[in-house]
């Protein structure tokens, strides 16, 4: 029984070391198979061994190394002995302590359990939440009981009781099981759901089973909300990407009637502009790396707009009124742009890193986490939409654009330089494509064929929304996003994509003018 012997050592040695782990404790925690290490950990937690928390944290941080003589905690280039804390030399052959998921889970639970004794209620609350998320292990039950006895905060007391109930629900006494099942009525952790389903299946006592089923039904009802909102959010998130992609096209194709097959490549240029800005900021101004996105967005707009203006002046201008030639010419341009990017940046994907503030997410409900990058893109799409709507509806440029698209000859008679307005409008559409590319670089891969994956979606949104209509584009984009995600949840992403295409084909057959159409002589 080496474990028991080990524990005996721990117990004997514990009183000797005043503020640190004993060498035997440290070695038992860091060396050996996972079963023995977890047993040692449980024992140390129960004994409230001094110095356990920092050592457990060091283990979690992969900062512990083993030599035959000592257990060392590494801190940068220096190391100190885990037992005693004396500085120590770090030999080259010191072995890393490897923690697997099971050990890491146990360490996290142990740290949380130690935090249950913290004086600050906020820290205790965090500890209870961490224990609930990890799933309470039976070995930590005495600690929870102890904490429950000492707890003064009423809210914390009830969450501790609930935490205890997740273990008690498996007790041998039916009365205690019943009490636990009733306590779990208020549980909102998705992890409890699996536990309840499992217990319902094996519960022999009818009353307890009924209580468990009641708790489960209520939990399901609460979690269902998270699922519904989650579906809506993923749909809106996809919709916001589709909207960004389609907005530029809504101007080029919708307002000006140019079938621009190179639209996707203008997005790709925007994404590469973001990549270049990221590298420049990292090289010359590393302190501001987290803010590179804010610099990259205007740059992607300007670069894509410049390429767009050039395209309009050199190629598209000569093809107005000849849609088939425009289509072929812009398709050719898209290939040229792709190859150009391949030649300059290489055929491989390039790496665009998320700044720290776009990583991670916010937990709104226990089973609903909204990632920051998705939230940011939804907000960004709305801002771009607002700017475009303002530009078209309220500014002089917008007035000219609308005038030229509605009646070119009349606009020219009124003194509008229609050729210049064409260039501006096309450049604006291209610039918005660039913005979309810059935003997409935060969620997807950036490579020379980035644009090809989105060009079909963009045309789908514009055609479905009704050519020439911003409002139609918005509704079509969010509608397609939600529909896509709804079908994806039901049939998987491969089939969902096909079904969405079928829906659109059928819709366009029934209503060729799209969701919205000009009510006027044209329509």
């Amino acid at each position: 029984m080496p474990i028991r012997l080990l524990l005996l050592c721990c117990l004997l040695l514990a009183p000797l070391a005043a503020r640190a782990l004993s060498p035997a404790q440290a070695r038992a925690l860091a060396d050996g198979d996972t079963d023995a290490r977890i047993a040692a950990l449980d024992q140390a937690v129960a004994a409230n061994a001094p110095g356990l928390a920092p050592f457990a944290q060091a283990l979690l941080d992969d900062a512990v190394k083993l030599t035959p003589a000592a257990v060392l905690v590494v801190d940068g280039a220096q190391a100190h002995d885990a037992a005693g804390g004396a500085p120590a030399a770090l030999p080259d052959d010191a072995a890393d302590v490897v923690n697997n998921n099971r050990m890491r889970g146990a360490l996290q639970a142990a740290l949380a359990a130690l935090e249950l004794r913290a004086p600050d209620p906020a820290r205790r609350r965090a500890a209870v939440a961490a224990l609930a998320a990890a799933g309470l292990d039976e070995s930590l039950l005495p600690l929870v009981e102890q904490a429950l006895g000492a707890e003064t905060d009423a809210a914390l007391k009830s969450s501790l009781r609930q935490l205890r109930a997740t273990v008690m629900v498996g007790a041998s006494d039916p009365k205690r099981r019943l009490a636990a099942a009733q306590l779990l009525v208020d549980a909102d952790d998705p992890g409890v759901r699996g536990l309840l389903i499992d217990r319902v299946a094996q519960e022999p006592d009818a009353a307890v089973r009924a209580a468990l089923q009641d708790s489960l039904a209520r939990l399901d009802a609460r979690l269902a909300w998270g699922e519904r909102l989650g579906l809506l959010f993923t749909g809106l998130s996809l919709g916001s990407i589709l909207l960004l992609v389609a907005l530029g096209l809504a101007i080029c194709y919708g307002l000006m009637g140019v079938i621009n097959m190179a639209h996707g490549e203008l997005m790709m240029i925007g994404a590469y502009a973001t990549y270049v800005v990221q590298n420049l900021v990292r090289a010359y101004w590393p302190a501001a790396f987290d803010a590179y996105v804010l610099i990259a967005l205007p740059v992607s707009f300007l670069v894509a707009a410049a390429v767009g203006a050039l395209l309009e002046r050199l190629v598209i201008r000569h093809l107005y009124g000849r849609p088939l030639e425009t289509l072929l010419a812009t398709w050719g341009i898209s290939l040229v742009l792709q190859q150009a990017v391949r030649s300059v940046f290489g055929a491989q994907n390039v790496l665009v890193e998320n700044p720290a503030w776009l990583s991670g997410g916010v937990a709104v409900l226990p089973n609903l986490v909204l990632p920051w990058n998705r939230l940011a893109i939804i907000a960004f799409a709305l801002v771009v939409l607002g700017l475009v709507a303002f530009l078209i509806a309220r500014t002089r440029l917008g007035l000219f654009v609308r005038g030229v698209t509605q009646n070119r000859a009349m606009a020219a008679c009124m003194g509008v330089n229609t050729a210049r307005i064409d260039t501006y409008a096309f450049a604006l559409g291209a610039g918005i494509a660039g913005l979309a590319g810059g935003a997409l670089a935060q969620v997807g891969n950036v490579g020379p064929d980035l644009g090809q994956g989105y060009i079909v979606d963009a045309f789908m949104v514009v055609v479905l929304g009704g050519v020439g209509q911003l409002a139609g584009t918005v509704i079509a984009a969010s509608g397609l996003g939600v529909l896509n995600k709804l079908l994806e949840g039901w049939s998987g992403p491969v089939l969902a994509k096909i079904m969405v295409l079928v829906v659109i084909v059928v819709f366009i057959q029934k209503r060729p003018q799209g969701l919205f159409a000009f009510k006027g002589r044209e329509a």
Binding site: N101, R102, A347, G361
Partner: protein, 421 residues
């Protein structure tokens, strides 16, 4: 007419010159083909393999070459386009007259080139773990068969240390490798008493980039019962958005571990791995394995990457399992050709049997005498915060490959060696 005649004279002279120079050139070098995607969705994984072939060729040449001649690599880009793989393979064999081809990552590309190699009697070295269910005389498989990767990984997940998983999500890219591997895994899990209700199978297209819905589905499935684990056979650049989403949604390895079969050090380059700590990968090699052979090999790769200014690799050199398998493959072929004193396909095949090589995984790996697969050790690693893997489980030594899975009933009685043609 005089002009035409002059052209004719010049061109025939040129032809004669070319013909005269051909044997001279052929005497100098032996051509070998490199057939890896350098663009498209698989470029993220395959580009490093192309560079590794080139480094291995340099290494073989520096040690005397093959049959006293230098190797000359011919690199083509099949662009993640499966039919193009077959075209390029044919071009390499018939036009460039290569003695052997190193290439392919996805099984669909291998299936695409296989008829070409069998028809033209040439030789392919395939360096990536795959689904098995294939044994061609014209292919040497230097990656893992399912029993050298997938099965041990799932066994680990079911073990106490792996989290005693009872429910499984089989998530993959929609093509032959994930579908076949998952078919084998499902049969294996049935044998272990896992019911169909506890297995969820899900596929995404190549290049898929929106994993929100999939991850929500995984979370929901996990909340419906006991401990759940995800087995990912996602291939190519889809892995970057998948792992980013995994981190952003806070799916922790201690709750729902994800074990991947096609994700190594190279695919995680540029992904923020701090939220991903503890997710797993199963391979026959990890860069973090400590032994002198591996240290020397990593050093050689770093120097090579710096000297050739390889994008990404020059700043942060990374090695991974398929690169190791490529390295082993080139060296074993060179040794076999030297042993056979010929680059003739049949003679090399005969000489390959029982070839051994001191590999960076710390073992001397051996080519099976019959089944064209390597005996390889199996490692299971967990992602660390720095994007490397720490080995949490390994086999005591190399394992013999079983290309025909014992869990698939139709495979009963199939011979463990290629059919003689």
């Amino acid at each position: 007419m005089p002009l035409t005649r002059r052209i004719f004279t010049i061109s025939s002279l040129a032809l004669a010159a070319a013909a005269a120079s051909l044997p001279a050139q052929a005497a100098d070098t032996i051509k070998i083909g490199v057939l890896h995607s350098l663009s498209g969705t698989m470029a993220i994984s395959e580009t490093a393999l192309k560079d590794m072939v080139l480094m291995a060729v340099d290494d073989v040449n520096a040690h005397g070459g093959v049959l006293g001649k230098k190797l000359e690599p011919v690199v083509v880009d099949p662009a993640s386009n499966w039919p193009l793989f077959a075209e390029k393979a044919r071009q390499l064999i018939t036009q460039d007259k290569v003695a052997v081809v190193f290439g392919c990552w996805t099984s669909v590309s291998r299936k695409s080139v296989l008829p070409v190699f069998e028809e033209l009697g040439s030789l392919l070295f395939y360096p990536v773990q795959y689904e098995g269910e294939e044994l061609s005389k014209n292919v040497f498989y230097t990656g893992a068969a399912p029993n050298q990767q997938a099965i041990p990984a799932v066994e680990y997940l079911m073990s106490k240390d792996g989290g005693s998983a009872k429910r499984f999500v089989l998530l993959g890219t929609d093509y032959v490798y994930p579908r076949t591997t998952n078919k084998i895994l499902r049969a294996f899990l049935h044998g272990k008493g896992v019911a169909d209700a506890d297995i969820m199978e899900e596929y995404t297209p190549f290049g898929h980039s929106d994993y929100q819905g999939i991850i929500a589905k995984i979370k929901k499935f996990a909340s419906e019962g006991k401990k759940t684990a995800v087995v990912s056979t996602i291939n190519g650049d889809s892995n970057v958005p998948f792992y980013k989403e995994l981190g952003n949604q806070g799916l922790k390895a201690t709750d729902i571990p994800v074990v991947a079969f096609s994700v190594g050090e190279e695919e995680l380059r540029g992904v923020d791995t701090k939220p991903l700590v503890g997710h797993l990968a199963a391979w026959n090699y990890f860069m973090s394995i400590k032994n002198p052979v591996n240290a020397a090999w990593i050093k050689q790769w770093s120097d090579y990457a710096k000297a050739h200014k390889l994008p990404g690799q020059a700043d942060k050199p990374l090695t991974n399992d398929p690169m190791e398998a490529t390295w082993i493959g080139v060296h074993m072929w060179a040794a076999a050709a030297n042993k056979a004193k010929s680059t003739d396909t049949d003679k090399v095949i005969a000489a390959m049997a029982g070839q051994s090589f001191k590999a960076p995984d710390g073992f001397t790996v051996e080519m099976d005498a019959k089944n064209h697969h390597l005996h390889k050790p199996v490692f299971i690693g967990e992602v660390k915060a720095d994007g490397q893997f720490s080995v949490v489980w390994k086999t005591p030594g190399p394992v013999k490959a079983q290309p025909w899975s014992p869990y698939i009933p139709e495979d009963k009685g199939k011979k463990d060696e290629p059919e003689k043609k």
